[in-house]
């Protein structure tokens, strides 16, 4: 398994990350990747900037556990998670999850699973700056539901 998990302030490049995920393994037939981005609007308010806080140490551990669960559930060849922290602006990339496999079904499922669990299990918190002031983003009910879907499968 080609696994890489990073928490960083710096931006990342999708092509570079996917190339590193693939390495020189010509068994890889499918790569599914997800990129999450800072939107300029949330809940009807303009967002001028965002701050991402995390729990150093636990974050990496939680992400590793999520990736391990994905490996146990699906026949995947590699997985890569890069999550940014600190100050971000609208349009900035927040997170990358990329998964490689022989065939596409496994990569799609494992990539979505990792994102759904990251959203509910990895200790990151978003604070948005809006014209009404700064506010911590509330967890979305739909994220809990997305993660729970996998438990009955």
């Amino acid at each position: 398994m080609n696994t890489c998990i990073r928490v960083q302030e710096a931006d990342f490049d999708l092509s570079t990350e996917v190339a590193a995920l693939r390495g020189d393994d010509a068994c890889v037939g499918a790569v599914v990747s997800f990129v999450g981005l800072v939107r300029d609007t949330n809940l009807g308010d303009g967002v001028s900037s965002m701050f991402l806080e995390h729990y150093p140490g636990m974050t990496e551990k939680a992400l590793e556990q999520i990736v391990t669960q994905a490996q146990q559930r699906w026949d995947i060849l590699g997985a890569r998670v890069v999550h940014r922290v600190g100050e971000l602006a609208p349009g900035d990339q927040i997170v990358l999850v990329a998964v490689s496999s022989l065939h596409r079904g496994e990569a799609f499922a494992a990539c979505e699973f990792i994102m759904d669990y990251l959203k509910t299990q990895a200790p990151f918190w978003k604070r948005e700056d809006t014209p009404q002031g700064a506010r911590w983003v509330d967890a979305r009910e739909s994220d809990d539901q997305a993660a729970q879907r996998w438990e009955s499968k």
Binding site: M58, K61, V95, A122, F124, W125, A139
Partner: protein, 82 residues
């Protein structure tokens, strides 16, 4: 019993505190009991945080999970990364 406690996000801001080390009375067995003791000792914001989450030694935990001497306990609101 000595515990290191961390606070994050909105809860950290409300308390004005990132972390603290507390010496706890005997008889505090679970995270829920620890939370109640902290609330009664100036950390009311813990009770005011909806859906408060817990971690023990950097693993997600539940209110009924045990707390042991030397543990690193974290309290925080539901996570919102990604």
């Amino acid at each position: 019993m000595s515990i290191r406690i961390l606070y994050f996000a909105g809860l950290r801001e409300k308390l004005g505190l990132n972390e603290e080390s507390v010496s706890l009375p005997e008889g505090l067995g679970t995270l829920g009991e620890l939370k109640a003791w902290l609330c009664a000792n100036g950390r009311e914001a813990l009770a005011e945080t909806p859906n408060l989450r817990f971690a023990v030694n950097q693993n997600m935990a539940r209110e009924t999970d045990p707390v042991l001497d030397g543990d690193e306990v974290a309290f925080f609101p539901p996570v919102t990364g990604g």
